[in-house]
């Protein structure tokens, strides 16, 4: 257990050491690669700007994750209920993923403004698809025997969906949500790059223009820590909710 917690920190410390060695023993200029010390200093010096920016980006990601998950789950449920809806919706869903969100970003900023809305929409666009795809798959693949048993017990189609298919699909839904959480920051950050006046992406664009590479790195550091923490929390919650679906790997 101790090892499990220690291992990522050892890896991290190794990487930072390597990074520090690169800056200390090569003649790379600081605007190309600032040293870890410089980044730490920037973190402290710019803490108020960074804190505000982090709060904005965090809110965008959480809102996007919340709306994206609800939209994704609703679409999956709708498609399971109605094959007609599935036939009409599936091509649209694929289209929404075929166009890169990068390409859509300027349009979304134009439509939804420079504020938070366009970033949340972008995050939702990135997030809903893995949720829909996994949850829909899980709903369709409920064990035949479970369904047969429920039918011999005179369960209505609604009861079968609510008491059997929904639960049977939860592990698949969990996988989709894990993927969604991991990629959630993408939408928010792209939105902030394209047009915004707040958030970590905005700080990075500004720092980039002024060649403040150390500030860019400090924003990146915060973003990674936030993304990892978010993923760990979602993973823990899912494991607790899905206590009955044990993982079969890890043992002999």
């Amino acid at each position: 257990m101790m090892q499990q917690i220690l291992r990522p920190f050892i890896t991290l410390a190794g990487l930072i050491l390597l990074w520090w060695a690169l800056t200390a023993f090569t003649s790379l200029p600081p605007y190309m690669l600032p040293s870890p010390v410089a980044v730490a200093r920037a973190l402290v010096a710019q803490r108020e700007t960074l804190l505000g920016a982090t709060a904005t980006t965090f809110a965008e990601i959480i809102l996007g994750l919340f709306c994206g998950t609800i939209l994704g789950a609703a679409l999956a449920l709708g498609m399971v209920f109605s094959p007609l809806l599935q036939r009409w919706l599936m091509p649209l869903l694929l289209l929404s993923q075929a166009i890169p969100v990068f390409a859509l970003a300027p349009l979304l900023v134009l439509w939804f403004g420079f504020g938070m809305a366009s970033k949340v929409v972008m995050a939702v666009l990135v997030i809903f698809f893995p949720v829909t795809a996994s949850f829909f798959d899980g709903l369709r693949r409920a064990d035949r025997g479970w369904l047969d048993l429920a039918r011999t017990m005179d369960a209505s189609p609604w009861a079968i969906l609510r008491h059997v298919r929904l639960y049977a699909a939860l592990p698949a839904f969990g996988s989709g949500l894990r993927v969604a959480t991991a990629i959630a920051p993408i939408g928010a950050i792209i939105g902030e790059w394209v047009g915004s006046s707040a958030g970590l992406g905005y700080v990075m664009m500004n720092a980039n223009a002024r060649i403040q590479t150390d500030v860019m790195f400090s924003a990146l550091t915060i973003l990674s820590v936030m993304a990892i923490l978010l993923w760990v929390i979602v993973d823990r919650v899912l494991k607790r909710v899905l206590y009955w679906a044990p993982e079969t790997t890890g043992g002999p």
Binding site: D143, G145, D148, L149, D154, A155, A159, H163, V164, A245
Partner: protein
């Protein structure tokens, strides 16, 4: 728990085709109310399909199935599948009361617990199925079947996944607890058939036909070394292997 009023099952000219492949044609079978009948056959002969039709889970290409009292079978059947079919997210007791949950009725927790005690799992009511052994899971499935309290019980090789000794114990338990109900068990195991059935019927051939009912003397569950059982088992082995080589 003898139930004199249990209806029998009348299968009349039942036909099942998948495309131009005929699984069976104009099958006739009558099961007397309150009897334990075992349908024996090799894999792929159409046993499971026949049972699914009786359970209302599949539609035949032709023919009818009805209860001997003339009323429909629907709502009077309990079903046990090839695996225990316990829902892993429900506790053992909740699994026993599954029918109530699915029909939106108030669950009878006391009766569920009582049934669990009868199958020897009173202590494990709050456990999840994942924590139980194969034999315990199958006993939970029996308790769930009894909770449904239907006069007719259909079983699709429910014991085939268990090891020999556990299977023998569960067979005895099932025979004892289901006594008096109309039961149809399908299996490929002549030994299991001879232990449990009042009557045995062999389904064999392509398209499959039913052989004449075989009566095993003595009351089930029969002891593993019962002479009648051993004699009938030998006979069945001969019949089944003959059909295989045809």
């Amino acid at each position: 728990m003898t139930r004199a009023g249990c209806p029998g099952i009348v299968v009349d000219k039942l036909t099942l085709r998948f495309g131009d492949r005929t699984i069976f044609e104009t099958l006739d079978l009558t099961i007397t109310g309150g009897e334990f009948v075992v349908l024996l056959g090799t894999s792929g002969v159409g046993k499971s399909s026949l049972l699914k039709i009786l359970a209302g889970l599949a539609t035949p290409s032709g023919g009818t199935v009805r209860a001997s009292d003339g009323r429909p079978l629907a709502g009077r059947i309990a079903y046990m599948g090839q695996t225990d079919l316990l829902y892993p997210w429900l506790t053992v007791q909740q699994n026993v009361m599954l029918g109530s949950r699915l029909r939106g009725e108030k669950a009878d927790a006391e009766r569920a617990l009582h049934l669990l005690q009868r199958v020897g799992l009173g202590e494990r009511a709050k456990a999840l199925p994942g924590e139980l052994s194969g034999g315990m899971r199958q006993r939970t499935a029996i308790a769930r079947t009894l909770y449904e309290d239907r006069p007719i019980v259909l079983m699709d090789e429910p014991f085939s996944a268990l090891d020999t000794l556990t299977r023998a114990r569960i067979q005895e338990l099932a025979a004892e607890l289901l006594e008096g109900r109309t039961a149809l068990l399908i299996t490929h195991d002549p030994f299991e058939a001879c232990r449990l059935g009042h009557h045995l019927v062999v389904l064999s051939g392509h398209p499959a036909t039913l052989g004449a009912p075989i009566l095993v003397p003595g009351r089930p569950p029969r002891a593993p070394d019962d002479p009648h059982l051993l004699e009938t088992q030998g006979h069945l082995m001969r019949v089944l292997t003959e059909h295989e080589t045809e």
